[in-house]
């Protein structure tokens, strides 16, 4: 079955550094991959989408890469700020095209 893996351990970094989060998937060939941000007690908020034919996507301080050979996506936040502290979820559209499957997310803490 399709499976998405994100590092369950929280990531702690210093303000100003680059945060890198990893998303791995198996038994799957998605057309595109999404990243969401979720704050405690809130619904996820869509950040970025990258398609299978795109190697890299950028939006302000965010950068996403998509390696379909490794079945992996990396999510980078450059010049991180304490306000970036949240849980970041990786998501893939399933092969049927109607459902999105979410990873469990990685908690990011940015210290001032």
């Amino acid at each position: 079955s399709q499976k998405i893996e994100q590092n369950s351990e929280a990531l702690n970094i210093q303000e100003g550094k680059t945060a890198t989060l990893t998303c791995n998937y198996t038994n799957y060939s998605p057309a595109y991959l999404q990243w969401y941000r979720q704050d405690p007690g809130r619904g996820p908020v869509f950040l970025l989408l990258i398609r299978e034919n795109e190697k890299e996507k950028r939006k302000e301080r965010l950068k996403v890469t998509f390696d379909t050979t490794l079945k992996q996506s990396l999510f980078h936040i450059t010049a991180s700020q304490p306000a970036d502290s949240a849980t970041y979820l990786c998501a893939l559209l399933d092969t049927g095209g109607f459902k999105t499957i979410f990873g469990a997310g990685t908690r990011l803490f940015v210290k001032a």
Partner: protein, 114 residues
Amino acid sequence: SQTIHQWPATLVQPVGSPLSLECTVEGTSNPNLYWYRQAAGRGLQLLFYSVGIGQISSEVPQNLSASRPQDRQFILSSKKLLLSDSGFYLCASAGTVRANYGYTFGSGTRLTVV
């Protein structure tokens, strides 16, 4: 842009009581609608999705049901709640251009069954 209205924000219900959570969507027509549940510290589990009025697909056999009586209304129900139904319930919408904009989520309902 889409907006999801979801209520109530929190709910405490006794075991065996009924449940009705409502979700309405603004800013789009004929969206795909979804109910997800998130246990504490866990990922999102897809419960139901709907591609149109009256069309419901269930992902996980359980004590819950869903209905879509109108294009932009999605309801999650239960006749008798179980303790295991506790969790954070999220409604999501994906418009026809979801491939560009991802899902829009509501603010969620925190359900505690006691």
